[in-house]
């Protein structure tokens, strides 16, 4: 069963899509730079890291578009008018179905990306634990009463592992870029917590997006330090 209620403030609708879109661009920058480095080093770790951010890029793209569809009826009406009529008439695609497909795609892409980052952080060379983790998460999400609750809980667990790794990385190396990466993932970890809180306090939705966006902005700052290195 899929349940999802957006209880965010109305004034924030549209801003969430914008923040997702900018986060997507930041993820794409990290993906592109990491892939460029992989082409130089041929290190599998660089490839997997770029793949993780490539998946996050797609996840944010899908969610940004999905949010637009549900928030702005005019966008969804325009979209429905431009779909092949046979698709609309046979009920193959409706706004609700597009929304559900979009969110499920976002969940799948994000969890796959985060699981890949966890495997990289834990320095697991064998691919089998990664696929086992994906399988277990898929089963957990599918059997849960709420895709969204299970998604945010799994994201919180995975991001906690990643953040702890980056804290140790910063503690060992004590450089500005390592501090920024740790803070970035710390902020990003706050986002699923804030999403959970939206049922308790109305601004939880907005806070979640702001935390997530702040995390990616901080990651961009870390990337800029690297790119400007001579």
């Amino acid at each position: 069963m899929v349940t999802g209620i957006i209880t965010g403030p109305k004034w924030f609708f549209g801003i969430d899509s914008l923040l997702e879109a900018v986060s997507m661009l930041i993820c794409f920058s990290i993906f592109a730079f990491s892939f460029k480095l992989y082409k130089i080093t041929r290190e599998k770790r660089h490839l997997y890291f770029s793949a993780a951010f490539g998946l996050l890029t797609l996840a944010f793209l899908v969610r940004s578009v999905t949010n637009l569809i549900i928030h702005f009826r005019t966008v969804s009406d325009w979209g429905m008018q431009h779909l092949p009529q046979i698709v609309v008439a046979k009920g193959i695609l409706s706004v609700t179905k597009i929304f559900l497909l979009g969110y499920i795609a976002h969940i799948a892409l994000t969890l796959t990306a985060l699981a890949l980052l966890v495997v990289l952080c834990l320095k697991i060379e064998d691919k089998k634990p990664y696929f086992l983790l994906l399988l277990l998460m898929s089963v957990l999400v599918y059997l849960s009463n709420s895709y969204f609750a299970s998604f945010y809980l799994l994201s919180l667990i995975l991001l906690s592992f990643i953040t702890y790794y980056y804290f140790k990385n910063f503690w060992t190396k004590r450089k500005a870029a390592t501090l920024l990466t740790f803070v970035a993932f710390l902020l990003y970890t706050g986002a699923p917590l804030a999403f959970f809180s939206q049922k308790i306090f109305g601004l939880g939705y907005a806070l979640a997006y702001i935390l997530q966006f702040s995390g990616f902005l901080t990651m961009l700052a870390a990337l800029l330090i690297v790119m400007l290195k001579k």
Partner: protein, 90 residues
């Protein structure tokens, strides 16, 4: 402070040794310049050959290793590579 060289540092040292010798180096010189044991050096040589960062040349049954364009690109981007690898813990 961690005084152990990372993998990227070792690769850099190997490629720089080749570059400093005019782009080509004999194994014994590389052993001295890279500050590695023979076995470890050969492991790295094998890996760098596989990745196309260096190539093996034979002249009158004497082996030497030469840096490729990919290896030169690695050297040119070393600082960014090192900074990125450290920043993102790779």
């Amino acid at each position: 402070m961690n005084l152990r060289r990372s993998k990227i540092d070792i690769v850099h040292d190997i490629l720089k040794a080749m570059h400093d010798k005019g782009g080509r180096i004999k194994p014994t010189h590389l052993l001295y310049k890279s500050n590695l044991s023979h076995n470890r050096m050969m492991e790295y040589i094998k890996e760098l050959l596989g990745k196309g960062l260096i190539l093996e040349e034979k002249e009158e049954e004497k082996i030497s290793y030469a840096i490729t364009n990919s290896g030169l690109e690695f050297l040119a981007n070393y600082k960014k590579l090192k900074e990125f690898t450290e920043a993102f813990g790779l």
